[in-house]
Amino acid sequence: MSRTDDILTVESVARRFGGVQALGGVSLEVRRGEFHAIIGPNGAGKSTFFNTLTGLVSPDAGRIVFEGRDLSGIAPHQRVRLGIGRTFQITRIFPDLTLLENVQVALLAHDRASLAPWRDASKHKPTDARELLERVGLSGPSGQLAAALAHGDRKRLELAITLAGKPRLLLLDEPTAGMGAQERLESIRMVHKVAAELGLSCLFTEHDMAVVFSVASRISVLVQGKLLITGQPEAVRASEQVQRVYLGEAVIEQGVG
């Protein structure tokens, strides 16, 4: 199944939590350079799937192969060192540090210098850190505390932190969560542009269909822990199965609301 232009291959990954089969054998490939979206109703297993890729949750069965390397038993921080970067649905930054320091923490980690006990951390590649901040659109004063940032800018900062690790595969969990409709589109286009500039492959989960269809090169639909379909946006949009899933959800939501 594995092809040389796949950066990530997921083979029949399964995971059960107590009596709930969160993932029931999911297989998919992320191709080099693609912008791959995972969609699906709430509780479809998107988060669990993401967490198996990043090593937060270990699968009961199946294999995850990154650039030809089996990731079984590889700790989260080691996966990052291999070239897999991630952002979180609930944004994770370091509010008590300055913007520059936020990025420097990750630059130090990438340079395997996090344990250096004597020299001044503020002198570690400030130019690289500033460049990354500008790349994600944070051109304000880099000496201000991250706690002062608005929600959207926090998302940008987390992206800069992630990019500092020089990943080749970017995993974004709900990159536009908590944003307004217009901001969502701007934000995902920025991420798309940055990923394209740096030649990164990207896998992301997303709720907003407008966002998904604006940037995704391929889409996988996850329903009740199983992969319904993977394909080009047009094919997914045209799929009756997908329409049934989403129409069903829409009806339920209206019924509740």
């Binding site: 990052v80 994770r92 008590d96 980690a109 210098a113 250096a116 004597w118 503020s122």
Partner: protein
């Protein structure tokens, strides 16, 4: 030269001249303050910088004190240089204990980490109490005296100062280094640090060992000033001391815990001299200070940092 540097040089000058102005009793108190300042700063490396609230930091202060006392006694240390060697050896013993306890404790975080450090400390307390052949049990180690001229408060003050100042400088370098920046980031968001490619548990363990080693040094220095070591130094109530000192002085400031240690010790000496209910008064004073100054005493001096 900026104001901060002038202040620092002034502080060191005052510390260097202090015994000239103090009676033997207050020099003895000044030695206690030096030891507890280092102890509180070592604790704050864990809490203020790493966000690791240890309820068992007294274990390492106590282990350092016992190790120093036992080493000096068993080796019959007579020379000043031999005595000086006792300090790094006490540090090393405390570091070893911290490595063993930290290995298990850093596997959990928050209150579970606190409970593990608490449990290990109580284990060591019981050993100190029951291993009478080694520790003297209830009676503790007694008759500890630095050799020769160092036995007088004045010279021993300088001996302690010669250990405490470099130790604090080393910790200061550490918190500003890549190691320290990563530690501060871990206090904010350990998962984000892990997903930047850092082995968070290992980083916490190293921090725990360093903090333990400096607490051990503080304990050994204080042991030869007080002349005794008691099991109570390892009791859980003793672990509250560095917490109170750090909070009192301000955990957001590097020297805050040292300031807290000074105020704590001086309050203890002055209040306990005038009433046997000094714990009550101490409690009230701390309550007022914490309520009125949530950032500690250092917050009054340095208003810039949030």
């Amino acid at each position: 030269m900026n104001a901060q540097r002038v202040g620092l040089i002034g502080l060191i000058a005052v510390l260097a001249l202090l015994p000239l102005a103090l009676s033997d009793f207050w020099t003895f108190i000044a030695i206690e303050i030096l030891a507890f300042a280092l102890y509180a700063i070592s604790f704050n490396l864990l809490m203020g910088y790493g966000g690791m609230l240890s309820f068992g930091h007294a274990a390492f202060f106590g282990v350092g004190a016992y190790a120093g006392g036992l080493l000096a006694k068993s080796a019959g240390v007579g020379s000043m240089w031999g005595f000086a060697l006792v300090m790094p050896m006490a540090m090393a013993v405390a570091a070893l204990f911290a490595a063993a306890i930290g290995f298990f404790s850093v596997r959990r975080s928050g209150i579970y980490f606190a409970m593990l450090t608490f449990a290990f400390q109580m284990l060591l307390y019981t050993v100190a109490l029951k291993a009478i052949g080694l520790t003297g049990g209830d009676d503790g180690l007694t008759g500890l005296r630095p050799p020769g001229a160092l036995a007088a408060p004045g010279p021993y003050y300088y001996f302690a100062l010669a250990w405490v100042l470099p130790a604090i400088y080393v910790i200061h370098r550490l918190v500003r280094s890549p190691f320290g920046l990563t530690l501060r980031a871990m206090r904010n968001n350990p998962l984000r640090v892990e997903y930047s490619g850092v082995d968070v548990r290992n980083h916490q363990l190293i921090t725990f060992v360093i903090a333990g080693a400096f607490a051990g040094l503080a304990g050994a220095l204080f042991a030869f000033s007080s002349g005794n070591v008691f099991p109570g130094w390892l009791n859980w109530t003793a672990s509250a001391t560095p917490i109170v000192m750090a909070v009192l002085g301000g955990v957001q400031s590097f020297l805050g815990p040292a300031l807290g240690a000074a105020v704590y010790v001086i309050l203890e000496v002055t209040i306990s001299g005038s009433t046997e209910y000094w714990h009550l008064f101490m409690g009230l004073v701390i309550l007022l200070l914490v309520l009125m100054m949530p950032r500690g005493l250092a917050g009054l001096i340095d208003r810039k940092r949030p």
